[in-house]
């Protein structure tokens, strides 16, 4: 509450305030001691992943017999692991197929959650209707319910209720139910975060638009959406990482045709775990996309963290 009494803030000012916050945090965290601690933690944190990457390029027998650090004294590298997990025989991976499954699951799920979340957030912050606050509290409260509780009932609906029962149980149409499941489970958080962001938008803008004769649909499209693009981007990244890394939903609702990469990686090691050297390459294949997303959209990611954490 210590911030200034803002004079009619424009869209730029909202973003400006966020970057001012970012600057403050940046200033606080640049003391040499903090830097040293951060570097040490980051190094320790990265060592296992680094070992994983090195291991994934080592031959099977080396992985099984010795630790990855021995590679420095006795280097031998191969692409065999990647070849096997990406394009191997039909049941020992073929992660290339499941990689696409993950894309097909993740991208629409993120799009749908953002779309519906933004609509809901708009209705909850800029439309006046009875019981609005109660609905908002209910949505917020739903975050507390663990999604595990909904798995069996939801599966029951998907397998017997119309229109889902029309889907071929083994077919690729089953992606639809995974989308719906992810969107359902993601909605409370997306709505909540977008609502926070949207209700900070200056009311004058909406009023001016209304005076000019814009209805809600028009205001949403022409004024709100352009202003919340940074929020959409950062929440989109969170959702993307969450859905990409999800195992449980994919495992329960996926079939052998539609399961995501994570579920396929979990089965890579073979019936009795004898092929665990494949996990090194498999894990790295599943990590590549989240890493790329994070590195290329880091800016939004940090902004999203700040949007949630530093209010007022």
């Amino acid at each position: 509450m210590s911030t200034v009494v803002t004079p009619p803030p424009s869209a730029g000012a909202v973003v400006g305030a966020a970057s001012a916050k970012a600057a403050r945090v940046k200033k606080k965290s640049t003391s040499p001691l903090v830097s040293i601690i951060v570097v040490v933690i980051a190094t320790i944190w990265t060592i296992p992943t680094f070992g994983l990457v090195l291991s994934s390029f080592r031959p099977e027998n080396d992985i099984k017999k010795t630790g990855w650090w021995t590679v420095f004294s006795n280097p031998s590298f191969t692409l065999e692991n990647y070849k096997e997990v990406l394009f191997g025989s039909s049941s020992n991976g073929q992660l290339a197929n499941f990689f696409l499954n993950s894309v097909v699951i993740t991208v629409p799920s993120v799009m749908f959650s953002l779309f519906f979340g933004a609509l809901a957030a708009y209705a909850l912050s800029w439309m006046n209707w009875k019981g609005r606050d109660w609905v908002f509290i209910a949505i917020f409260a739903l975050q507390i319910v663990p999604l595990q509780m909904a798995l069996v009932p939801l599966l029951r609906i998907f397998s017997t209720a119309w229109p889902f029962s029309l889907l071929d149980p083994q077919g690729t149409g089953k992606f639809v139910i995974i989308w719906i499941a992810h969107v359902c489970f993601g909605m409370p958080l997306v709505t909540f975060l977008l609502h926070n962001f949207m209700s900070d938008l200056p009311g004058e803008l909406m009023e001016a638009a209304r005076v000019d004769g814009a209805d809600h649909a028009r205001i949403f499209r022409s004024i709100v959406v352009p202003l919340i693009v940074p929020a959409l981007a950062s929440i989109g990244i969170f959702q993307f990482l969450y859905i990409w890394n999800d195992l449980l939903v994919g495992l329960v609702f996926g079939t052998s045709e539609t399961k995501p990469l994570t579920a396929a990686v979990a089965d890579l090691a073979g019936t009795r775990g004898q092929e665990w050297q494949r996990l090194t390459a498999g894990a790295f294949v599943s990590m590549v996309v989240p890493l790329l997303v994070f590195i290329s959209l880091q800016r939004y990611f940090v902004r999203g963290l700040l949007a949630g954490g530093l209010k007022g």
Partner: protein
């Protein structure tokens, strides 16, 4: 400006999505299309005469959900090719590492598979309790009665109704060793439990290897299961089958002196610092050594004996020859009192059907067809308790030569003197057999005493 960039960005994402969808559609159809049956089949031709009795179907699909995956699943798929072509039934093999948990979720969510080979009679009981499993058809029941030994049928039976015919089998009462090492040192294969202990002493004193035994209990979520096999094998040997049955049926408590005695007998080897843990460390290292790596020190010459099931044959490093004259082989874990016969501990799967569609029953019946059983064995590294399985058809995967360890397993299974018993932990309620019993073994081997471990397992037994 920002808005315009965003819009352009979203078009790019949308088109990327379109491409991805199209690609996945291709991927899906190509992997699904590998095993298409010509609907209607060609029953008339001589080629299909052997499976004519299973009928022909149009557009029928049967999903088999299983914990068997990877190359082993591929061998199953291969074994179905002929049947699929002739009957028009498309069999989809769906293997998952989370099979035990997922099967129950799918059943409760009205999304059960058509068939599932269940490795635990305890789980079969649970599923029957949920009214999920259909009793075997009359045809299946009659065929099973003719094809399998009577005790195997009891594991597929719940409350007097026969549900699930046996599928694969494995024998667990084996001790792996290096024939060359034994020969070089003049060690003989022990025929009784006392000889086994005496041999352990000899090896420990000889100093030829690090320690006589190597053991590994670690196995992820299932850590501890190799330990339960030790206790079960010793229960069978010291107490006989009647007490063994009372034990897993909980007619005697888990902390009964007889059970504690079995723990102590196992402890004489597993908790003896002079005997374990070859090539790895002290007694406690048993808990952290992976089951997959448990026997590896034999190949490295650090340990002489490793008690593990026949399926451990797959775990040896590449290039290890498994044969009586090879690098490693296994001998039958000797009985305490040879006069009481040859108790054999083992495991296997039971093929439960979750609906009574004609195609489901046809596949269930086909999976005990004597031709299929022998063809499946020829693909390698797979045996069953089926009486029609011929040992000459039990081959290895790699070079399709006779598979000595599996042939030995079949001989033990088919030996009229063998007294076969199913793995007790698989028949106990899951909260014990796949829970406290496993954890108890880890606690026990890391220092807890027999009494406190058996007491706490007894306490965890579900009431009813």
């Amino acid at each position: 400006m920002a808005a315009r960039t965003w819009r352009r960005g979203s078009t790019a994402v949308a088109s990327a999505l379109g491409v991805a969808l199209a690609l996945s559609a291709c991927g899906g159809s190509s992997s699904g299309g590998t095993a298409t049956g010509t609907a209607g089949g060609s029953t008339g031709s001589a080629e299909c005469a052997d499976v004519a009795q299973y009928g022909t179907f149009n557009n029928a699909k049967v999903e088999i959900y299983s914990s068997i995956r990877d190359v082993e699943a591929e061998r199953f798929e291969k074994s179905f090719e002929h049947f699929q072509k002739c009957t028009g039934i498309d069999i989809q093999w769906n293997g998952s590492g989370e099979f035990e948990a997922q099967l129950q979720v799918r059943v409760k969510g009205n999304n059960a598979p058509d068939l599932a080979p269940i490795p635990q009679p305890g789980l079969l009981q649970t599923l029957v309790g949920l009214n999920a499993v259909k009793p075997a058809s009359e045809k299946v029941a009659t065929a099973s009665k003719a094809n399998f030994p009577a005790d195997w049928l009891t594991y597929g039976t719940v409350n007097g109704t026969f549900y699930a015919p046996p599928l694969g089998a494995n024998v667990k009462s084996f001790v792996w060793y290096s024939p060359k090492m034994f020969k070089d040192n003049g060690w003989a294969i022990p025929q009784t439990w006392d000889e086994l202990l005496k041999l352990s002493d000899t090896i420990a004193k000889s100093g030829k290897v690090d320690k006589p035994w190597c053991v590994g209990f670690e196995s992820g979520d299932a850590s501890g299961w190799p330990g339960t096999d030790w206790i079960e094998d010793i229960m069978l040997r010291t107490q006989g089958v009647e007490t063994y049955d009372q034990w897993w049926q909980h007619k005697i408590p888990f902390n009964d002196p007889k059970v504690q005695d079995a723990f102590d007998k196992a402890g004489a080897i597993l908790k003896n610092p002079a005997y374990v843990n070859g090539g790895t460390g002290d007694v406690k290292s048993i808990a952290t050594t992976a089951f997959q790596d448990g026997g590896k020190p034999i190949v490295d010459g650090d340990c002489a004996m490793h008690r593990q099931a026949s399926f451990y044959a797959n775990q040896w490093p590449e290039g290890t020859k498994v044969a009586e004259d090879g690098d490693v082989y296994a001998f039958y874990l000797p009985p305490v009192d040879p006069a009481k016969g040859k108790p054999v501990l083992g495991g296997g799967e039971f093929l439960a059907a979750f609906n009574d569609k004609a195609e489901t029953q046809a596949v269930q019946l086909y999976m005990q067809d004597v031709n299929w059983v022998n063809e499946k064995a020829k693909l390698g590294d797979w045996i069953t308790a089926h009486k029609g399985l011929k040992t000459e058809n039990v081959l290895t995967v790699t070079d399709q030569t006779p598979n000595p360890i599996q042939i030995l397993s079949v001989q033990i299974l088919q030996d009229p003197n063998s007294v076969f018993r199913f793995d007790a932990s698989d028949m106990m309620p899951a909260s014990v057999g796949a829970g406290t019993f496993w954890k108890g073994m880890i606690n026990w081997v890391t220092g807890a005493d027999t009494k406190s471990v058996t007491d706490s397992i007894e306490k965890s037994w579900p009431a009813s």
